[in-house]
């Protein structure tokens, strides 16, 4: 795998990744190789005794409390404004890759909390994708997968709920953008309403195909059953548009 990608992945795990690197990892996150590497890095870190609170014992309330010390989370006047989390929420704005979005060198507890906060957002998205095995397709607004992971965290404040919602929105936005950007993730367009002409054409292909399958004897009677039932498959009972 590309060296830059490996570095980005490593940086992300160490909490050193900037937004560009995080997005690079996200863009490649449905590559099997990347997943394997991710798992391996995790194991190494566990063995080395590095605590991965950002990714495993993800305590949102602690991060929020820390961030609250810095300012008002809800109003957006907090360090959140400059975090990648907030940045990703505004896709239409040109993403600035200048120093403004880079994390400040951690010297103060406030800066630490910011970094943790920012990392938690991105990392949570990735953790969801990896841990739950999410395939980067278009995600519905109320994705049960995301809800389940986030719901596992303590939820005892309105601020937390807002964070959850924001996190969902971020994850979805990234997912949707990746789906659009990557030709590999494209899903076939599903046609669910047939015209009469379409149905006829489908049937003629079906007959031809069923012949091939039936005569091989592999699946016994099923291919012939498909043919015999072809006209009860909603194609001649008015379920199509004329």
């Amino acid at each position: 795998m590309e060296q830059r990608l490996r570095e980005s992945l490593s940086a992300l795990l160490d909490g050193e990744a900037d937004e560009l690197e995080s997005h690079r990892v996200l863009a490649w996150s449905n590559e099997a190789e990347l997943r394997t590497l991710w798992a391996r890095y995790h194991r190494v870190r566990t063995v080395m005794g590095v605590s991965d609170t950002q990714l495993h014992d993800f305590d949102i309330s602690r991060s929020i409390a820390a961030a609250l010390d810095q300012g008002d989370v809800a109003s957006g006047a907090s360090p959140l404004r400059h975090s990648a989390l907030a940045q990703a929420e505004k896709p239409s704005q040109a993403r600035s890759t200048d120093a403004q979005t880079r994390p400040a060198t951690p010297t103060t507890p406030a800066a630490n909390a910011t970094k943790l906060w920012k990392l938690s957002g991105i990392a949570a998205s990735i953790a969801v994708a990896f841990v739950v095995g999410l395939n980067f397709k278009a995600v519905e607004p109320n994705s049960p997968v995301l809800d389940k992971v986030v719901a596992a965290q303590p939820a005892d404040s309105a601020v937390l709920a807002q964070h959850v919602a924001r996190q969902n929105a971020v994850a979805q936005e990234l997912v949707a953008r990746d789906a659009l950007a990557s030709a590999e993730a494209r899903q076939p367009k599903l046609i669910d309403r047939f015209t009469e002409a379409h149905a006829k054409r489908f049937n003629s292909y079906l007959l031809r195909h069923a012949e091939n399958a039936a005569l091989s004897g592999r699946q016994g009677v099923v291919p012939l059953a498909r043919v015999a039932s072809v006209n009860s498959m909603g194609m001649s009972d008015g379920r199509y548009e004329r």
Partner: protein, 332 residues
């Protein structure tokens, strides 16, 4: 004294062995089929489908639409003869005699499908194809009762996302398939086939194998092929730049001269049709009916445009990727 004790010991030994044997025998009866027996079951299944005389009724469910059908199957003098009859909804019949399949559809149009151009005798055509262990995991399942017969379940699980998974229930006595499910990648049931009643008579009557709508209009269904004109080479050959892993050309069923290719992975098959662009082709995209997917796409650059349609019991994503990668071998 010693004779008596000797006699007693002998009796006890016999009893011990009798009990031991009985236990072992009982154990043997209740031992589940092992994994490597699953492929033996599949061979039995294919044999039974050919050689058994049977008649019965089954339901066939695709998505939320179902159909009830009757079937009569006879194997006599090396000739296989069977008839399927849809008994609810619109009339539909399929009669198969060895390599010849005739479909009688509504408006009583009988469609004769092409003769099977396979090697020699029909029985030889029933190659015992096994699901490739590289792509499918064979697992024995539970013993269940279907249509009042004891059946053994066999799971055939897809090992990647390019194909579906299957559950088969085989009659313990004959090996015949009595129930099957096709599962989508997420486990949803796409298609269900299940006998509700079945019997294995010694003879099947001739009249049961005659279509009810015999003697009506016979029409040969033809899939339009790209017209031969000076812009196309005389014999168009096609390249599949991408195929799902494990799928290979089914040589005996492909018809390159009709721009039809068939591919199979040993468990399922899909057909690729390549045609000229016309007014009444299918819309681009995936159409699904139960487990069957049709994916249609127009490719090429003017004037060399062509429509590719992939149809088979494979996930829409597989069909799409195959269709998009079909290229002509231009021989200018």
């Amino acid at each position: 004294m010693s004779r008596q004790s000797g006699g007693m010991k002998y009796g006890m030994t016999i009893r011990f062995w009798l009990i031991a044997c009985a236990c072992l025998g009982w154990l043997g009866l209740s031992v589940q089929v092992r994994a490597d027996d699953a492929s033996t079951w599949l061979k039995r299944m294919q044999r039974a489908a050919l050689e058994q005389n049977y008649q019965g009724t089954f339901i066939f469910v695709r998505g939320d639409m179902s159909s009830t059908q009757q079937i009569f199957h006879r194997y006599a003098n090396g000739i296989e003869h069977e008839r399927l009859l849809q008994v609810d909804g619109t009339m539909g019949e399929v009669v198969r005699k060895s390599g010849e399949v005739t479909c009688i559809l509504p408006e009583n149009k009988a469609v004769q499908l092409e003769q099977f151009n396979g090697p020699g005798k029909p029985a030889a055509a029933f190659v015992h194809v096994m699901p490739d262990p590289q792509f499918y995991a064979l697992k024995p399942g539970k013993v269940e009762r279907i249509a009042n017969r004891i059946c053994q379940q066999i799971r055939i699980e897809a090992l990647d996302e390019y194909r579906y998974s299957y559950s088969l229930w085989l009659d313990q006595e004959t090996g015949l398939l009595l129930k099957s499910l096709i599962n989508d990648l997420d486990g949803a049931v796409l298609e269900r086939f299940q006998f509700t009643s079945i019997e294995f008579p010694e003879q099947i009557n001739d009249e049961d194998l005659m279509p009810e709508s015999a003697g009506q209009v016979v029409e040969h269904e033809v899939i339009p092929v790209p017209p031969r004109d000076r812009h196309w080479p005389d014999r168009m050959m096609w390249d599949m730049k991408w195929l799902p892993p494990g799928f290979a050309t089914s040589r005996e069923r492909s018809r390159p001269d009709q721009n039809l290719m068939v591919f199979s992975d040993g468990m399922t098959a899909f057909s690729v049709f390549i045609e000229a662009v016309s007014g009444d082709q299918m819309p681009e995209g995936a159409s699904r009916v139960g487990a069957t997917t049709a994916y249609s796409q127009t490719l090429g650059v003017d004037p060399h445009r062509y429509v590719v349609t992939v149809m088979g019991e494979i996930p829409p994503m597989s069909a799409m990727k195959v269709a998009e990668a079909v290229r002509p071998q231009m021989m200018e």
